[in-house]
């Protein structure tokens, strides 16, 4: 497998694996949207060696998703069947069942992240080892054309970025999409009309906002990255040879130059960050707007006997589940 990979790599002029994946450590949002899926696709090559762990994780993810659906369902039953009707018989049994569901869901989740952590880290090990051995086999002029700093940053921070994606996203995306589907099915099963309202509001608002935001953000982030590159390049060069700067008494001249690049970066950064900073509050607003709409429509329907308070609550809970899943999926959409 490894050799096959290396051959593929060598034919390419610039090895794709060594391509920058984005400086997530410092600018987490910068290139994520475009690159995460691409990164995942490449990492899949290594990830698929961990077959058993992956299958185990998948089974457990399905389990947790199911349990997570049963929890709110029972909650709805309790509200509608016992609290509103003020009927306490059988309440303790159903509550015990809820506890049991939550307990096993937690345990399963724990186990799942335990297995996944091992798989992810073993994948990282293989990736790092391959990278290193490839590095040793690169022709010498490869090293002449690149500074040590540049190579080191690829080998360390970029690998770290992949690690972040792997550890955080894989299980999340899988369980996120699974539970979204599950929640949607459950919601439609319980009350199709209310479900339709939830799903439509959320998808519509999310898509609209994302379209608008993504376009605005991308341009600004590119500008910020460019300014950052200039700033870091300048600092690395100047500070790297500080002794020459001092020997020729050029401290003031370099400080003046620095101020220009630093200011540029600050402006580009503020422009980019204030747009990407919109994402959080915007998602919050979508979340809350949908909350209000579902509450309004649900309440209205409840009055006319088209739904119950418990079901509305469940829709709300379901919508809560939908929210993070759509959020994360959206973040990864190219």
């Amino acid at each position: 497998m490894a050799t096959d990979f290396q051959e593929k790599q060598q034919s390419a002029p610039a090895p794709p694996l060594m391509g920058r994946i984005g400086n997530a450590q410092t600018y987490s949002e910068v290139q994520r949207p475009q690159k995460t899926l691409e990164t995942l696709r490449r990492v899949w090559f290594y990830l698929r060696r961990q077959k058993i762990s992956l299958i185990l994780t998948a089974i457990m993810v399905v389990g947790t998703v199911c349990l997570d659906l049963i929890g709110p369902f029972l909650l709805g039953r309790v509200i509608d069947g016992h609290i509103i009707t003020r009927n306490l018989s059988g309440l303790s049994q159903i509550l015990m069942l809820m506890l049991l569901v939550y307990l096993s869901s937690g345990a399963l989740y724990l186990l799942q992240s335990y297995v996944m952590a091992g798989a992810a880290q073993r994948t990282m090990r293989d990736l790092r080892a391959d990278l290193f051995s490839r590095l040793l086999h690169m022709p010498l002029n490869f090293f002449d054309r690149r500074s040590h700093g540049e190579l080191m940053s690829r080998l360390t921070s970029d690998v770290e970025n992949i690690n972040q994606v792997l550890s955080n996203c894989v299980a999340q995306i899988v369980s996120g999409s699974l539970s979204t589907v599950g929640v949607a099915i459950a919601m439609f099963y319980i009350n199709p009309r209310l479900a339709a309202v939830s799903v439509v509001t959320i998808s519509l608002l999310t898509i609209l906002c994302n379209r608008w935001l993504a376009a605005k953000t991308r341009v600004r982030f590119r500008a910020q990255q460019a300014a950052l590159g200039r700033l870091y390049g300048f600092m690395e060069e100047t500070i790297g040879v500080q002794k020459v700067v001092k020997a020729y008494g050029q401290e003031k001249a370099f400080t003046t130059q620095f101020d220009v690049v630093n200011e540029d970066f600050r402006h580009a950064g503020i422009r980019a960050q204030s747009y990407s900073g919109l994402t959080g509050p915007m998602m919050n607003t979508i979340h809350n707007t949908a909350y209000a709409i579902v509450a309004g429509v649900g309440g209205y329907m409840a009055v006319f006997g088209m739904t119950t308070v418990g079901d509305t609550l469940l829709s709300k809970k379901g919508r809560n589940r939908l929210q993070p899943a759509t959020c994360s999926l959206n973040a990864y959409r190219p």
Partner: protein, 584 residues
């Protein structure tokens, strides 16, 4: 926390933004807290009484509130960015200025890589942290407190659940974090291990390849890699316990609320909507607590960055310019005198690098310094432009102690081509003009001609405008050295120091450079540090250095007669009386 707080003084010029952000966040939190209450209104007064008017009215009110909350959130985000980036930029500028003011002794101690990290990723971490704190430090405690109060208002009895759940979760989180921290420290060490192997292999890639050490290095790397993976796995497993623990706590709380609430609804006339609102507040409080714990962890990692940045900000230049500063009225003649100089890089170390060095270099003389590697040749010449201060004795230029001359003034008159020829990634022209950025082209090309660099520069595609460095032309070691010499010649210093800067230049070219220097129109004292005897033959004075001491000084012929070490060096570099190239 202390270091981070100290750095917050950089917020002062941006205080307007730093105040606006939390204020707007406060608005958002209050509006957010209203939400569950409004839902309750829909359930209890709308649905329960079948009043569609109330339902629609309340839902619209909710929409308004949400829009307002959204706007406040946006505003808060914007101001937080302004404040944090303002702080980041100012901090970077302060650090850069500090680095410019440091002396060589500081720079040796701080090492370049670490310095750059402080200005780049450390400042960045602090900047991100300030941004997050400005949002989270206000939002989270407020949201938590608000939820608690609202829940207690609904039902004091149910509120007791908070009092059990929140401390229990806090303790559980603290326990997990306590265990996670040392694990992540170990991860950092493992990461350093992997990075070290990588760095060494990158730096020494030629040696690794030449000596076929690839397999050995791969095994070494695999070892470091395995250690890192084991530690990383442990750390991730430990820290991923937080989510299930939190979810479980929250759900247990919900079940308890339902259990107690069912009784309350039946007996005490609590409304269903109130119970639902209570559950919402509970969820909000628990999730906020969870986020708060993540924020705390992040703050403590930023703390390490803050400490490093602060350390640099607070370091004082080792060379302090003295009170009465002397400026030369005219160009100094270039007479340099070392009077009983002893020197040591660190005062704590009793082994002296230079011992009792005394000699005079008359104006216009060429002084060569010869000696084995590590004998202190470079150190000696670096005392002249005052890269370091002597520990004992004195170095004078035209009779003035160099410690009394401001650094800038001194270095205008002392030009040095360093051992390592360092080029900036800009044009060749700008590299040579470093000491005098507005030098005329004539001056530039004269310097280049004298350094025997003009010829090869003109052959480059863009001549003097050609870019050097990673994206520019590839220059040989000898060519780089000649550019460095041209750079030193351009400023026409009274004292010129060539610190082993012709080592990669062939003997013939070296001779041409020396001839050109002899024909100079201006008076100049020259110091030539060399390992090759051919470089020093014509010097007016040769100092033979051994283990930090001058063991002999004189002209070539005097030393051939009087100094055995010199004769040995001479013999080793000549064959049948002819100088060879192998001096290095």
């Amino acid at each position: 926390m202390q270091a981070l707080l100290k750095l917050l003084q950089f917020l002062r010029p941006h205080w307007r933004f730093a105040v606006m952000a939390p204020v707007l966040m406060l608005c958002e939190v209050v509006l957010d807290l209203m939400q569950p209450r409004l839902i309750q209104r829909i359930i209890d007064y709308g649905v329960a009484r079948s009043d569609t008017q109330v339902i629609l009215g309340t839902a619209s009110l909710m929409l308004c509130f949400m829009a307002l909350a959204g706007l406040s959130g946006l505003g808060c985000g914007y101001f937080a960015v302004r404040a944090a980036y303002g702080l980041g930029g100012d901090l970077r500028a302060a650090l850069f200025r500090k680095v410019q003011s440091l002396s060589f002794g500081n720079l040796d101690k701080l090492e370049t890589g670490a310095l750059i990290t402080r200005l780049t990723s450390d400042v960045n971490k602090i900047q991100e942290m300030v941004m997050m704190m400005m949002r989270g430090m206000v939002r989270m405690p407020l949201l938590m407190l608000g939820s608690l109060v609202m829940a207690a208002v609904i039902s004091p009895r149910l509120g007791l659940i908070f009092i059990v759940i929140l401390p229990a979760l806090t303790i559980a989180l603290i326990m997990i974090i306590r265990k996670t921290f040392p694990l992540y420290r170990q991860v950092q060490e493992g990461l350093d291990g992997v990075n070290t192997v990588m760095q060494e292999n990158l730096a020494g890639v030629r040696v690794v390849k030449a000596f076929a050490r690839t397999e050995y290095e791969s095994r070494r790397f695999a070892l470091a890699n395995n250690i890192l993976v084991q530690r990383m796995t442990d750390a991730v497993r430990m820290s991923s316990r937080t989510t299930p623990v939190m979810m479980l706590t929250l759900n247990v709380g919900v079940v308890a609320a339902l259990w107690i609430g069912a009784g309350e609804v039946q007996m005490a006339g609590m409304r269903v909507g109130e119970l639902v609102a209570f559950i919402n507040y509970l969820g909000q409080a628990v999730i906020t607590l969870m986020m708060f714990s993540t924020l705390t962890i992040q703050i403590s990692t930023a703390q390490a960055s803050a400490k490093r940045v602060l350390e640099l900000l607070e370091s004082e230049p080792i060379l302090m310019s003295p009170g009465h500063e002397i400026k030369f009225a005219s160009r100094p003649s270039g007479k340099v005198v070392f009077d009983n100089v002893s020197f040591n890089y660190s005062p704590a170390n009793p082994d002296l690098v230079l011992k009792n060095i005394s000699f005079e270099a008359e104006s216009g003389q060429t002084v060569a310094i010869l000696g084995a590697t590590g004998s202190g040749k470079s150190t000696l010449v670096q005392l002249i432009p005052r890269f370091y201060d002597v520990c004992q004795g004195s170095v004078t230029l035209d009779g003035v102690d160099v410690r009394k001359i401001p650094e800038e003034e001194l270095r205008r008159h002392v030009g040095i081509a360093l051992q390592e020829s360092i080029l900036f990634s800009t044009s060749i022209k700008n590299n040579i003009r470093l000491g005098e950025p507005d030098a005329s082209f004539e001056k530039l090309s004269t310097a280049a001609r004298n350094a025997q660099a003009d010829e090869f520069i003109r052959k480059l595609p863009d001549g003097y405008e050609a870019l050097v460095g990673q994206r520019g032309v590839n220059l040989s070691g000898g060519q780089k050295q000649r550019l460095a010499i041209a750079r030193a010649l351009l400023v026409q210093p009274s004292v010129l120091i060539l610190d082993d800067s012709t080592s990669a230049v062939d003997v013939r070219t070296e001779g041409l450079i020396q001839d050109a220097l002899e024909r100079n129109s201006y008076r100049q004292t020259r110091f030539i540090v060399a390992q090759r005897i051919s470089s020093v033959l014509h010097a007016d004075k040769i100092l033979v250095l051994d283990n930090g001491e001058i063991i002999a000084q004189g002209t070539h012929y005097e030393l051939l007669d009087a100094c055995e070490v010199y004769r040995e060096i001479y013999d080793s570099q000549t064959e049948n009386g002819v100088l060879t190239y192998s001096g290095n």
